[in-house]
């Protein structure tokens, strides 16, 4: 052994005189790195309580706890972290669909009581609540898929040449992929008027079980193909994935499932007791609410007859919604399941006063779902000129096969779905279309997608245009005169109202004016003693929590009853009446009366 090797160990002593190897503890506290994973913080205003953090936590360290009342799109729950279990992996932060959850770079917290290490970030105040630094979501790393599988659609230039469906529909692979984006929080269920079991059927689609998906759908929607194509989809509005990305295409997925089957008869299995044998129910109006009542009562053994004034069931979804959105075969398929289930359908039959009196006498219950069929008028000078027409009449005539007199340049007055439908139908009939709407584009009640589609197809939209009058021109055309509007806010929180800017008149020379400003109820068919009891001053019908009107035994639903005027709300009304009618008839099974548990909450 050399001298060098013998002395080497002692060289360590030399270090006693050199600069300390470690850093001096100047401040008594060392700040965590900028993206340190420390104690949780949560922006509770942004948080929607979807529970994805609890779902992804592999340690089961997160509980969702109630801190507020739920509202649509926010469960009112907030995550509480148990630091006895947390491993600070921050998957909860990375998955958070709203981006509200984060971690501060604070890591020191001293407490004598071990149970204190459990708190609701953002609710239980902590010194690090406003920490700027710490682990946050970062662009480029997502644990959920924010991008919707694009829906194949007809080219806008091609669309107006045909009546073919604009939306082509997902392939199986596309549907499965889109379905796999769901985080199954279930916030959508509460937003859906009919409370469809959305996460459950989406999971079934993802797993490739279309039959199961269809049956889950049919549990509370008898017109899913219609909803799959044209639903107003409030569900997508509250989708947690939609907070930072594209909401799940819930509507298109429903559409995908329903399109997989040409005949529903042997696919949909209604596993319900036939409690209604021997009971008779008449339904006036074959729209979505009437169809709902008919189907769910028929499968329960009720003797159900629907009376419909038009040649086909479907109500507004038949005569209002154009075929490029909801083709006839789709409707017919759904109607066939109704007849297969034993519903009697009387079409081309308008119930009048005396017959109604008879129906009330002969049936255990009568359901009214006649909708809002009376178009409101422009009430501006020139409304009665030839060439001025109502969108509702025009659409109905078109759909029952009557010739519609549309030509040249058309102005459609209004901004709702009816206005858009009338515009796009007119386009396909060869017209050049402009929409004049009193409010701003953002105020348009029509579906955003519909508006986009219409514009893509070539519809021009003039917002804040108040129709003043219509005049005939010398060459037999029409001069649509309108004035610009300014928006005035009367009350905080209400939609601003348009106010005419006086002194300006704009002229638009057109061939047709189509009025689509709104519609009201028409009760002239109804016996006075009934109308008097059930209709309010606006003509709307009020019902109790069972869907029953003030006239005992008469139930109602649909646009007449709710003000939302969409099909899914009508279906929800129908569902309510189904329970109500069974209750009224004294045949409601106990379990349903108490309100059964949702199909698949348990994880």
């Amino acid at each position: 052994m050399s001298v060098k090797h013998t002395l080497a160990p002692f060289s360590a002593w030399l270090q006693a005189f050199s600069k300390p190897f470690t850093l001096p503890d100047k401040h008594g506290y060392r700040e965590g790195a900028d993206r340190y994973r420390g104690w949780h913080i949560n922006d509770t205003k942004k948080c929607i309580g979807c529970g994805s953090c609890a779902e992804i936590c592999q340690n089961v360290a997160i509980d969702m706890v109630p801190v507020d009342d739920p509202v649509k799109g926010d469960s009112g729950l907030r995550p509480r972290v148990d630091y006895g279990r947390c491993c600070w992996c921050a998957l909860c932060v990375d998955v958070c669909p709203s981006g509200s959850l984060g971690m501060s770079n604070e890591y020191i917290w001293v407490e004598a009581d071990a149970d204190k290490f459990r708190y609701i970030p953002g609710v239980d105040p902590k010194p690090w609540d406003n920490a700027e630094k710490g682990w946050r979501q970062e662009e480029g790393f997502d644990l959920v898929d924010h991008e919707r599988v694009p829906m194949p659609m007809l080219d806008p230039a091609e669309r107006t040449k045909t009546w073919a469906e604009v939306v082509i529909g997902y392939s199986e692979e596309e549907a499965r992929q889109e379905a796999s984006r769901c985080v199954e929080c279930g916030l959508c269920v509460a937003a859906c008027p009919a409370h469809m079991h959305i996460p459950d059927y989406i999971a079934a689609i993802r797993d490739g079980d279309d039959i199961a998906a269809l049956n889950i759908i049919y549990d509370n929607n008898p017109m899913p193909e219609m909803c799959g194509k044209v639903c107003t989809r409030r569900c997508e509005g509250v989708c947690s994935i939609g907070v930072q990305g594209d909401p799940l295409a819930i509507r298109w997925l429903k559409r995908y499932v329903t399109e997989q089957f040409d005949d529903l008869k042997d696919v949909v299995h209604a596993e319900v007791e036939r409690v209604g044998e021997g009971k008779k129910v008449a339904i006036v109006g074959g729209g979505p609410s009437g169809v709902t009542v008919a189907y769910y009562l028929a499968i329960r053994g009720f003797d159900v007859t629907i009376y419909e004034a038009l040649p086909q069931l479907g109500g507004a979804t038949f005569f209002g919604i154009p075929k490029y959105r909801f083709p006839m075969p789709s409707l017919e398929k759904q109607v066939k399941l109704l007849t297969d289930s034993g519903v009697k359908i009387v079409t081309n039959h308008r119930v009048e006063k005396d017959e109604m009196r008879q129906l009330v006498k002969d049936n255990d219950a009568v359901f009214i779902g006649t909708g809002l069929m009376k178009p409101y008028g422009l009430r501006a000078p020139g409304e009665d000129l030839p060439g001025v027409m109502y969108a509702l009449d025009m659409l109905r005539d078109h759909h029952i096969g009557k010739k519609v007199d549309i030509t040249g340049k058309v102005v459609v007055v209004g901004g709702g779905n009816v206005a858009i439908d009338a515009s796009r139908v007119s386009l396909r009939l060869g017209a050049e279309v402009t929409i004049a709407y009193r409010r701003r584009k953002v105020d348009m009640p029509a579906d955003d997608e519909e508006i986009e589609d219409a514009e893509a197809e070539g519809v021009e939209i003039i917002p804040q245009a108040i129709p003043l009058r219509v005049e005939q021109t010398g060459d037999g055309r029409l001069d649509f005169i309108w004035g610009p509007a300014e928006m005035v806010q009367e009350e905080e929180g209400r939609r601003p109202r348009p106010k005419l800017i006086e002194g300006v008149e704009n002229h638009m020379i057109v061939d047709r004016v189509i009025v689509a400003i709104g519609q009201g109820a028409e009760h002239s068919w109804m016996p006075e003693e009934i109308a008097e009891k059930i209709a309010d001053k606006r003509g709307w019908i009020t019902v109790d929590e069972n869907g029953m009107t003030a006239y005992e035994g008469i139930f109602a639903g649909g646009d007449l009853v709710n003000s939302t005027a969409d099909a899914i709300s009508a279906i929800a009304d129908g569902l309510r009446a189904v329970v109500g009618i069974q209750k009224y008839a004294g045949v409601l099974p106990q379990a349903e009366d108490e309100g059964s548990e949702p199909v698949a909450i348990a994880k």
Binding site: M1, K4, H5, T6, A8, P9, S11, A12, Q15, F21, T22, G32, A33, D34, R35, Y36, R37, S52, E55, I56, C57, Q58, C87, W88, C89, A90, L91, D94, V95, M103, W135, E138, G140, F141, D142, L143, V144, D145, E147, S180, R181, C182, V183, E184, A203, R206
Partner: protein, 376 residues
């Protein structure tokens, strides 16, 4: 009691070495039989850390398994993270999507991990011989690397950073400069350490010619890592089964001869220098771009049925993951092939007879036995 009786009793002394952290290696124990100062036999006992990670993974979604695996080797967690990600990337088809920068950052993390683990183990080598100064310095150097881990991954020990499709975050602003400063600080101090380890008569006396592993055992027992390289065999997964960005890096497999504790320590010392060099190369070559592939919804992700074995060079030797999927959203089976599994049981038990009791701890450190990866 007669002298013969006492001698007889001494012959039959049975010693439990551990399970309270015998040296640097962690909680395990060796049940050893002594004759005088010499061990006649030994049996490795594990199970003190067992948390059943392989079983837990069968009950968790893929993304939920990801924070677990780092715990399979506490001081060098990143190899585990990489291997789980690599296995499932391969079986899911995500492997083709991992962006270039993601691969470079993965390689960076793996090499940083090797660096800090080797710094710590080198300290362990001499710590197991009851010398305190050098381990303190080496642990402090390791902490420089942990500082960089903290700013990159958000955690010092459990990084939970390499995941499916790439890594979780990009390099922070100015990372390369701070890393370089730390590397220089480490390089500056290393000669001090060399002086008190490799030049020290104490270490040389206790390490040279001690714990010699015969070359025939390599294939027979499937040995790997510094144990093999200390025999002069250039075997290294980074070269033999190249992964991530190692093929694009310029390095030679470190070898030496002697196959004793000294040789293994020397290999580790050279690999510290190698890692420093590799980290510099990586930071130089890393391109800009995305760091992670677009991931599917991790709450519902399913992977088609399949099985694979992926491997990487941990500082201890070949680490491998046998991964089986069955088409569901959870793994069917993950089985960790840990280097310590062979080195800490079969090899250690085979080496014990004839070893002096005082050499057992240095021997274990030189095999770098990591108990949690034996139990998983």
């Amino acid at each position: 009691m007669t002298t013969t009786e006492t001698a007889e009793l001494r012959r039959r002394v049975q010693l439990w070495f551990g399970p309270q952290h015998p040296g640097i290696t962690g909680n395990m124990s060796v049940q050893a039989w002594l004759e005088g100062d010499t061990l006649t036999a030994g049996v490795t006992h594990v199970g003190y850390l067992h948390r059943g990670f392989e079983k837990l993974m069968e009950r968790r979604r893929y993304i939920q398994s990801f924070p677990i695996v780092c715990r399979i080797c506490v001081p060098e967690p990143d190899t585990n993270e990489y291997l789980l990600a690599a296995g499932l990337d391969e079986l899911s088809g995500l492997a083709a999507e991992v962006p270039e920068r993601g691969r470079w950052i993965r390689t960076l993390v793996l090499e940083m991990s090797r660096l800090q683990m080797n710094l710590m183990t080198l300290g362990g080598h001499i710590g197991a011989m009851a010398m305190g100064a050098a381990p303190n310095w080496l642990i402090a150097m390791r902490d420089f690397v942990l500082d960089r881990f903290e700013e990159l991954t958000g955690g010092r020990i459990y990084h939970m950073f390499i995941t499916y499709g790439g890594v979780r975050r990009d390099l922070p602003e100015g990372f390369a400069e701070r890393m370089e400063a730390d590397l220089e600080a480490i390089e500056e101090k290393l000669p001090l350490v060399d002086n008190v380890i490799f030049d020290s008569s104490v270490f040389r006396k206790r390490a040279i010619g001690v714990g010699v592993v015969p070359e025939e055992w390599v294939d027979e027992m499937s040995l790997s890592g510094p144990i093999v390289r200390a025999m002069g065999i250039p075997r290294d997964v980074r070269k033999d089964f190249p992964y991530e960005k190692y093929p694009e890096l310029d390095f030679e497999v470190v070898t030496t001869t002697g196959s004793d504790i000294y040789a293994r320590a020397w290999v580790r010392r050279q690999e510290i220098a190698q890692s420093i060099d590799l980290i510099r190369q990586i930071l130089r070559k890393m391109p800009e771009g995305p760091y992670c592939a677009k991931l599917p919804n991790m709450l519902t992700w399913t992977i088609p049925p399949g099985q694979t074995y992926v491997r990487a060079e941990a500082t201890r030797g070949e680490m491998g993951y046998y991964v089986v999927t069955d088409g569901s959203d959870k793994v069917r089976r993950v089985h960790v092939r840990a280097p310590s599994y062979v080195h800490g049981v079969a090899l250690l038990e085979r080496m014990i007879p004839g070893t002096n009791i005082a050499d057992l701890a240095p021997l274990m450190v030189s095999f770098q036995v990591c108990p949690p990866e034996m139990e998983r």
